[in-house]
């Protein structure tokens, strides 16, 4: 510390003139002559001063000349009695004056000279300072400007010395030129994939780089409530093109057999569910590693079978998966399908190159460049090289990466269709009216067009009678949609294939809100509408040409460019009317997939139902803008989380802690939150130790499951749990420390339908008003035997629960779910108004340790590992092992321990998570918020099955399923009701 002070002082004194200090001198004369010689240049300046000085301060001078002092001395000294003796008899006026003059000039110099690195404007009084003075010297008073300019130049030079000046960039005009802009965009897409709507989103959204994509997280404008309202009463639009599509082709029975290894019937319908297999419905399924049903889940996928073509067993299946899931899923699919031969030669060039060239083709056709002015530029560009092409699809993938795999044994082909298909999701009861407004079934082509032979797909289809009748049927069904009032009226998961006209042709001039039209609705045949509502779309109508690679490519290649379209628009007689005749290229095969809304629970059922719109790639923006013009709201990732939260559905990477992607997400989240926590100054951080929150940034599920397993094995009741759990922790930690190699059974999330249904029935209060004891008779009532048999199968499991708060409070993520004591429940029964019990504040044992380390940085490495009370053994073990390791490791361990000890956070290893607080913890919340649909705080989280059953056994029937919820930053417990919804 002192070294730093000395340094600082040195820095300050650097500019001080040395002549002020008098070295110890034996005789006055000598010293004064020295001083006089030191400052010869001050001559005239000092003259007027010297007389005054010598007159006014005769005594001070005298004092300074005390011989035994070096330098200046303040005040009288004890041995001041010595002065009189040494008083000079006489003063040489000239030498004395010169010496004083030197002193004065030195003083003036010191006063004028600014110390250290201060800027010029620091010399100004505060009220004269202005913003950005250092940047713009004209804001300074005139007299200081010159100095400031000099200083600025100096600093600029210093800056340029350090880092090389960046290459001078092109002018903005040059940069914004179309070709250059495209090149720049292509460069930026090389690392993270851009969706087709990227530019649109980037102008309006906070973008995040996630999972290898650039995605919009939330809009920059305030629209949280507006988006919620859109979801519940109108329509919210999302771009979900980042979901990965994997295509499987092969014989039906072989595909089903292969895929059955990945799923289990216990967890709900699988790939082979009859209705999904026919292609009439979209299905969703939980995928596991092959043959590892309960223990190794991968994640949820949705899938869609292509309807059967007559007399063929060859089927096509699309599996839609989240990008984080894809990397695990794809190898797994390859193993179960025995597809290991990558089809490189034709696939690789065909995949990438045509997409690049495709876009430029229509531009190069003669009718595409009607304006002669552009010719010059084009020719110039051609001379330099091929023009920049817009990247469609995956820009990060190397051309040589295989996207297709074939099996030699069973003929199954796997295609990776990532970014080949655009997927938009419309959420809300009016999403069908938005679709009906935007899309129009494709118009047929007249005879002249039919007779022309060209490469476009639609005229060829028009000549086929069967295809046209199918198209007519599909168009009829699409028109029936006008007659329904809410998207939720349709059977969930319905699929409708369709061919539509280019929606840009009917773009309204102004943004209007699409609403259902009562008049149109009454025109629709009632009988047909009823049939659609009850049975959904008939099988043939689910067919769409988007399934065919050739048609997709054809459509993508032959898209009319925006420029061409605008030219056609300008030629229309009545501005804003529909463009006619429809250009031949403007027919797009699409697929509409109904998304079910809230399916669990009794309230708000089918909230958030909607449609997914699947398009061939390249057409993203052509559909996006017309949709936006129908008055929909646009949501980002944030809104999709809220959507699933209101639906009480788990959200993929976040709520799957047992999947690899979920674990990865948890780690990322922890790092992010910890980083945020550390950014606060220590005094402003929440002390989580004092709040009794062991793990505020993550949920140690494994530890929780293990602890509860042991507690239950030993047959714990409320009172014993605490003591036991402590013992358990010690046991566990010591076990871990000694033998980490011991195989631990991993926790799993309970997804067995039957077991969930049983648990759900046990959670429900049996005698509550408004709830019928439905079918409880068929299920065994909760009892010790039933619980033990249940636990024998699912002891290490967690179960997904939906928590709704009984009184006020807003749950946050990582809030604890705790077991209320009988007294708490009694208090709840007596007075509804009471908010719930309080947790007594905990003591922070680590604070003193941190302080100690701060004082003594040398010893920190050892003192930070010094055992505290609960984790004594553990720490000793670590200490011992530290000693074993060689000295070179020391700095590392120091940094580790210093990162371990953060004020307000428990260092690893954590103490017992279950029994840390006065109420026993059974689980945590993974997402929670104030739910605007329920009007109270709602959360979704996991609890340990063992802990839950133990709680339920001890609870009386009217309080079944009531738990306490406590936020990490609060000491207040709130009562909450849990529901397990199947």
């Amino acid at each position: 510390m002192s070294a730093a002070k000395v340094k600082m002082r040195e820095k300050k004194m650097r500019n001080q003139p040395a002549s002020v200090q008098y070295p110890s001198s034996s005789s006055n004369v000598e010293s004064s002559t020295q001083n006089g010689a030191d400052a010869p240049g001050t001559g005239e300046n000092a003259d007027p001063l010297k007389g005054g000085l010598s007159e006014v301060h005769p005594s001070t001078e005298r004092k300074k000349k005390t011989p035994h002092q070096s330098g200046w001395v303040r005040g009288h000294h004890k041995d001041g009695g010595g002065y009189t003796k040494e008083m000079p008899k006489y003063i040489t006026a000239g030498a004395f004056a010169r010496a004083r003059a030197a002193e004065v000039s030195a003083m003036l110099k010191a006063v004028r000279k600014t110390t250290s690195s201060s800027h010029v404007f620091e010399a100004l009084p505060k009220h004269m300072r202005r913003r950005a003075m250092s940047h713009n010297t004209k804001r300074l008073p005139h007299r200081l400007r010159e100095v400031a300019n000099r200083m600025r130049e100096k600093s600029l030079q210093a800056g340029s010395k350090k880092k090389k000046e960046p290459a001078k960039s092109k002018s903005r005009k040059a940069r914004r030129r179309h070709g250059n802009l495209l090149l720049e965009f292509n460069r930026r897409q090389r690392k993270n994939i851009w969706l087709e709507t990227h530019i649109w989103h980037a102008k309006r959204f906070h973008m995040v780089k996630k999972w290898g994509y650039c995605l919009g997280d939330r809009p920059t404008y305030k629209c949280y409530r507006a988006c919620y309202r859109a979801m519940s009463s109108h329509c919210l639009l999302q771009d979900l093109s980042y979901y990965c599509c994997i295509e499987l082709q092969g014989d039906e029975d072989k595909l089903v057999a292969a895929l059955s290894q990945l799923t289990s019937k216990e967890a709900g319908p699988t790939f082979a569910a009859a209705l999904c297999l026919s292609g009439r419905r979209q299905g969703s399924v939980m995928v596991y590693r092959a043959g590892r049903y309960p223990s190794q889940p991968l994640g949820p996928v949705t899938f869609l079978w292509r309807p059967r073509t007559q007399g063929s067993m060859h089927r096509q299946l699309w599996i839609w998966a989240h990008p984080t899931l894809k990397q695990d899923l794809l190898p797994e699919l390859q193993t179960v399908c025995q597809c290991c031969e990558a089809v490189i030669p034709p696939a690789a060039p065909v995949e990438v190159n045509p997409t690049l060239e495709a876009d430029s083709e229509p531009e190069n056709t003669p009718e595409a460049k009607p304006v002669p002015g552009t010719k010059r530029k084009r020719s110039r560009k051609d001379a330099t090289g091929p023009p920049a092409k817009k990247i469609l699809g995956d820009g990060t993938r190397l051309p040589s990466t295989p996207v297709s795999w074939r099996s030699s044994s069973n003929g199954i082909v796997i295609n990776d269709l990532t970014m080949e298909i655009v997927r938009y999701r419309l959420i809300g009861p009016q999403s069908h009216s938005v679709l009906v407004d935007t899309l129009e079934a494709a118009t047929g082509c007249d005879e002249v067009q039919k007779s022309q032979t060209c490469s476009l797909w639609w005229p060829q289809h028009c000549s086929d009678e069967a295809k046209m009748t199918l198209h007519q049927q599909q168009a009829d069904i699409f028109n029936i949609l006008k007659g329904i009032y809410s998207t939720a009226e349709l059977p969930s998961g319905t699929v409708l294939g369709l061919t539509v006209d280019d929606p840009r042709l009917t773009l309204p001039r102004k943004r209007v809100k699409a609403l259902p039209c009562v008049k149109q609705a009454q025109e629709v045949d009632e009988e047909k509408r009823r049939k659609l509502m009850l049975e959904g779309v008939p099988e043939p109508c689910c067919q769409s040409f988007i399934w065919e690679q050739s048609v997709r490519d054809n459509v993508t290649d032959n898209k009319i460019s925006e420029q061409e379209l605008n030219r056609m628009r300008s030629e229309v007689l009545v501005p804003g009317s529909r463009l006619s005749p429809t250009p031949l290229q403007g027919r797009v095969p699409i697929l509409l997939v109904h998304q079910p809304g809230k399916q669990v629970g009794h309230e708000m059922s089918s909230w958030g139902a909607g449609w997914d719109l699947l398009l061939p790639k390249g057409w993203g923006m052509a559909f996006w803008i017309p949709l936006v013009y129908r008055g929909v709201r646009i949501g980002g990732l944030n809104m999709s989380l809220k959507h699933s939260q209101n639906k009480a559905a788990p959200h993929f990477p976040r709520d799957y802690p047992d999947c690899p992607a979920g674990m990865c997400f948890q780690e990322e989240q922890e790092a992010e939150l910890l980083d945020k926590f550390k950014r606060h100054p220590p005094a402003k951080r929440t002390n989580y130790i004092k709040h009794g929150c062991v793990a505020p940034f993550r949920c140690p599920w494994q530890q929780l499951a293990e602890e509860w397993e042991i507690i239950v094995q030993e047959g714990g009741s409320q009172a014993q749990i605490t003591a036991q759990a402590d013992a358990v922790t010690e046991e566990r930690t010591s076990q871990q420390a000694i033998s980490i190699t011991k195989p631990l059974s991993r926790f799993t999330v309970l997804r067995n339908r039957k077991a969930l249904r049983l648990l759900s029935a046990w959670c429900r209060p049996t005698t509550s008003k408004g709830q019928r004891p439905c079918r409880v008779g068929e299920l065994p009532p909760i009892s010790c035997e039933a619980v033990t048999s249940f636990l024998s199968a699912h002891a290490m499991s967690l179960v997904w629960v939906h928590v709704s708060l009984l009184s006020k409070g807003k749950p946050e993520y990582h809030a604890m779910l705790c077991v209320p004591t009988p007294e708490d429940l009694k208090a709840l029964g007596n007075r509804q108004g009471t908010g719930g019990p309080q947790e007594p504040p905990h003591r922070d044992h680590f604070k003193s340790r941190i302080k100690r380390r701060k004082k003594d940085p040398k010893k920190a490495a050892t003192s930070s590992v010094t055992p505290d009370k609960p984790d004594g053994k553990e720490a000793e073990l670590i200490f011992a092992s530290d000693l074993d390791t060689n000295a070179s490791k020391d700095p590392k361990s120091f940094s580790e321990s210093s990162s371990d000890l953060i004020l307000g956070l428990w260092p690893d290893p954590l103490p017992s998570v279950a029994s840390h607080c006065s109420r026993v913890t059974v689980g945590w919340v993974t997402q929670g918020d104030f739910s605007m649909s329920a009007g109270c705080g709602e959360a979704l989280g996991f609890v340990s099955v063992a802990g839950l059953l133990n709680t339920l056994l001890n609870q009386t029937s009217e309080h079944k399923g009531k738990l306490l919820l406590r936020n990490p930053t609060s000491l207040h417990y709130r009562f909450a009701k849990i529901n397990i919804e199947v």
């Binding site: 519940s232 109108h234 009032y485 009226e489 399916q599 708000m604 059922s605």
Partner: protein, 149 residues
């Protein structure tokens, strides 16, 4: 659809157990999960009030009163479905009583077709999901100020 609070306004069918309605369809209750769809929703005017069993009775009554007095509507329609019929009648009568006879009522009944989805839980996966319709009664009460003549 001008009202943002649409879902809460919808009347939620809370009728008796579903499988008592149609004995013709025999099924094993374990194998199917019953999922009720929402009743069909019609576009509603500002003076339509759909009564449900979840919202507080007084709040619904207050809403009706506000429409009649502050909202400037000469008439409102109170709709109730199934279990909520009782409450709809109650609200209408309360409105009439509190107006000291100035309001008149005109009640209509109707039958609403509701749709249930039955999803097979059967692990063999051969079962087709079924859709059934059942009927429920509804009441539509017009509460209005009679014309001055």
């Amino acid at each position: 659809m001008t009202e943002p609070r649409n879902p809460s306004m919808s009347s939620i069918p809370q009728t008796g157990p579903a499988h008592t309605d149609s004995p013709a369809v025999e099924m094993d209750p374990v194998e199917y999960t019953l999922r009720k769809r929402l009743p069909r929703k019609l576009p509603k005017r500002r003076n339509d009030v759909y009564v449900n069993m979840k919202t507080d009775f007084r709040a619904q009554l207050a809403r009706c009163q506000k429409l009649l007095e502050g909202g400037g509507h000469r008439e409102i329609c109170v709709h109730g479905l199934g279990l909520a019929i009782n409450r709809a009648i109650n609200i209408a009568l309360q409105l009439q009583a509190s107006s000291q006879g100035a309001l008149q009522l005109a009640a209509n009944t109707s039958t609403v077709e509701l749709v249930d989805d039955l999803e097979p839980e059967d692990p063999d996966e051969a079962g087709e999901p079924m859709t059934r319709t059942r009927n429920n009664s509804a009441i539509h009460i017009k509460v209005f100020y009679p014309d001055a003549q």
